[in-house]
């Protein structure tokens, strides 16, 4: 346990150079990219003097090196800076949008895990049957579908044609968010305030976006789980468990799946970055007021500090998940020692 703690602390310190490297890269790319916040704000026909004045106000007239040092100086003091477009701290919109993205990705991941892993395990246990082939076909098709197209199709079918599910937003307009808003995680907030009606509304809004995200990612998990399961099912301890008279269902879903789950967990950590990328597109499709939409909006406006801030938060999110994966690792596999 003490070793695990030491490992966690080491990992946290290791994220610092990673963040530094990433930010430097983003900082440079943003400034090389055509366009800047001032022309985005004032348009192409603003007089030269106004543009110069605005640039000075934002500190954009300084050499890039100096700007970079200023920015790092802010960061060391845990300050993400001010937006260049709006009169607000960068942290303000991030605080507001982050819970929406966390809810979306967590439910998307849960769906992928439960659905993808279960389907993969089932396909492996029914190897070379019609069901196995159908599941493999599903996995390949789903893996090729772009996430926004999948989103549009689900909106069309379940939102427009069938009219079962809402196709945009986190909550119905008739429900007043201010009556329960607290942490920003609507699923938790509605439960805390005991407003069951609002909770159900929030969950219904979560279904289509998180299923869209989950389905697209489930393809790779189906394939990975199936391959690992086939490997594990060939191992001697599975044969030995069968020979002891352990029922097939337990052999497959308890012994084999638990062993096959270890590489799946690794994959989960790796795929999380992809999931965030998918979340950005999903948020656009479903008008989901999260970090992805914030990022897209601010890229159009060339709001450098906010873009950098969002990227920092995404990077922290990914490293937090991979740290969690490592901890779960140690819990599942008794052979793993840190």
């Amino acid at each position: 346990m003490k070793n695990l703690l030491r490992y966690i602390i080491t990992r946290i310190f290791l994220t610092i150079p990673m963040l530094f490297f990433l930010l430097t890269l983003v900082f440079i790319i943003l400034r090389i990219m055509p366009g800047d916040p001032v022309s985005a704000m004032l348009g192409a026909h603003a007089p030269e003097s106004v543009i110069e004045q605005k640039k000075e106000e934002l500190g954009l007239n300084k050499p890039i090196g100096a700007q970079y040092i200023d920015y790092l100086n802010q960061l060391i003091h845990f300050d993400l800076g001010d937006s260049m477009i709006f009169k607000q701290k960068v942290i303000v919109p991030i605080k507001e949008k982050l819970p929406a993205t966390v809810e979306l990705t967590v439910f998307g991941m849960l769906f992928t895990l439960v659905f993808g892993v279960f389907l993969g395990a089932y396909a492996a246990s029914k190897r070379r049957t019609g069901r196995d082939f159908s599941i493999r076909l599903y996995a390949n098709v789903v893996y090729c579908i772009p996430v926004y197209w999948m989103g549009l199709m689900l909106q069309l079918v379940f939102g427009v044609w069938l009219g079962w599910l809402p196709i945009s937003g986190r909550v119905s307009p008739r429900i007043l968010v201010s009556t329960f808003e607290n942490t920003g995680f609507y699923t938790i907030d509605t439960l805390l305030s005991g407003d069951l009606h609002a909770f159900i509304d929030v969950m219904i809004h979560l279904i289509l976006p998180s299923v869209t995200l989950g389905i697209v990612l489930s393809g790779i998990f189906v394939r990975l789980t199936r391959a690992n399961m086939l490997d594990v099912l060939r191992s001697e301890y599975i044969l030995a468990a069968r020979a002891r008279g352990i029922p097939e269902r337990r052999v497959v879903y308890k012994h084999a799946l638990k062993n096959a789950f270890i590489p799946i967990l690794t994959m989960m950590g790796l795929q999380f970055a992809l999931l965030l990328a998918g979340a950005i597109l999903t948020e656009m499709t479903f008008s989901w007021p999260g970090m992805g939409r914030l990022l897209m909006e601010r890229i159009y406006l060339r709001d450098y500090p906010t873009i950098q801030g969002v990227i920092v938060v995404f990077a922290l999110f990914v490293s937090l998940v991979s740290l969690l994966v490592d901890i779960i690792y140690a819990i599942i596999d008794p052979r793993v020692k840190y």
Binding site: E236, Y237, A240, G245
Partner: protein
Amino acid sequence: MKETILELKNVHIHYPISIGTVRAVEDVSFSLYKGEALGLVGESGCGKSTLGLSFLKLIRPPGRVEKGEILYKGRDLLKMSEGEVRRLRGQDIAMVFQNPLTSLDPLFKIRDQFLETIKYHRGDIPRDEAIKMIEDILEKLGIERKRMNEYPHQLSGGMRQRIMIGLGLIMDPDILIADEPTTSLDVIVEAGFIDLLNRLRKKFNLTIVLITHNLGLVAEIADRVVVMYGGRVMEIASSEDIFGNPLHPYTKGLINCIPNIELEQEKLVTMPGNPPDLVNPPRGCRFEPRCPVAMEICREKTPDLIDYEGRKIACWLYRG
């Protein structure tokens, strides 16, 4: 009168593969008597392990028992439902596998692997009583009871082998099938294993099937020996007859290959040739291509297993 506990009648086991069918076991018939230790010997790939798995109906698909009957106490295993066979596994017929290092699930504590075995056969046994059973069997195997709270990787190979046997014996089965039980153990642990098996045999009134290519192990444990070659039975005889007076040319060859430290042999004796291709086996006797005394008829016709001077043998030499 010896009581038959398991009987094989004309068992054929085939594995379909892309280039044809592997005839892993062909026309094997023999009986297993209550309380005896039977050695099933032959070279690698002669079908002995496949045969062992068929006693538990655990042949890996697409392989299957093509023909024949496997009668346990008179009932055909192959006709039983999956649920019935499952209850038989571990409870009536138990199996210990080749490699103790890979035969235990690495993610489950020893205790839990025992507990689930008990639970799925005797759900009526309360947990504390089940723990008592585990402590009991560990003591008989010479393992401290506290070790049951450990994971397989925390135990030595010899200990894991004993745990495997414990898992096999926990439900007090009638038959224990041991498939190459000592292949991955060093000689000292192997000696301990032989001693243990002989003791357990008396204590549990076990019937043992020992599947191995290790003739030394067979000599130490088995009462009777079935010699297999190329998926067929070549000879069945008592241990003394097999080692003292082998009749079948293949059995003779096998016995000759045992290195003897006292004879000061210069060279290790081997049998020339390779085991037969089981997809396209020889038309006549399987052993004919390697047999030093092969005759014309051996190439043409497969000899049946016949009674000969109190033993059974499949060879044209002993036909009239």
